[in-house]
Symmetry: C2
Subunit: 135 residues, 2 copies
């Protein structure tokens, strides 16, 4: 992912955008808040404002480059959209986020929607989990 992706999205290739894209790429699977990115930038002496981080993330989302999630009504978290859809499981003890997919669940969702005369536009499935007891 590089400057081409930005141009394709009709966005000028600027330092803030490239740096934020880089940071998102080096996350493999982790999810970050706007502030996480902002702090990371500060640590590397990049003089990029928090407002810019928000603006860039919003543009990236609109361009289909990143996904935004609103887990448990606090801060929004972002991740690069690598194309393969997945849902999330959050370990409530450690805060760890696990990604998973289930074609069967997807199918049942479509079925339920259809049964009500609808078609699915989007969906959000989050499991809040706890390490299994070994009783």
């Amino acid at each position: 992912m590089e400057s081409t992706d930005l141009r394709k999205a009709g966005l000028k290739v600027t330092h803030p955008r490239m740096r934020i894209l880089e940071i998102l790429e080096n996350l493999d699977g982790k999810h970050v808040t706007a502030e996480d990115i902002y702090r990371e930038l500060l640590e590397h002496q990049d003089d990029i404002g928090l407002a810019t981080v928000y603006r860039v993330l919003t543009q990236f989302e609109a361009a289909g480059l990143v996904l935004k999630h609103n887990f448990e009504g606090g801060q929004a978290v972002y991740e690069l959209d690598r194309g393969k859809h997945h849902d999330h499981m959050i370990d409530v003890e450690s805060g760890k986020v696990i990604e998973f997919t289930s074609e069967e669940i997807e199918r049942l969702q479509r079925e339920v929607a259809e049964r009500h005369g609808y078609q699915i536009e989007d969906h959000s499935l989050v499991l809040y989990v706890r390490p299994r007891k070994k009783n």
Copy 2:
């Protein structure tokens, strides 16, 4: 649902609490924001502050009397917890919220969690839907 429920929850039976409980009861299935309740109270000349509405809803949630949902990062919406678990489908055109249940989806969720060594504590499933095209 009445004063008994409040006492059971260790809450004093006050006018604000009773009124808010009443309003929640007369919703059958609809979902309201704190402001919705506040406006409803104003219309009936109840002199109850918005802060109180928030405090009462938070207490009701902790007491297991109401459910709070954070659909699409705006305002939180509340509904009375009538015991039977359900998920939500939101018609993105009209904003209408439809409740549904699917024991099969629930089962698959438990399976997925188990497969990762977890047990489900809670979950949130929201389908954003659109009336089916008659192609």
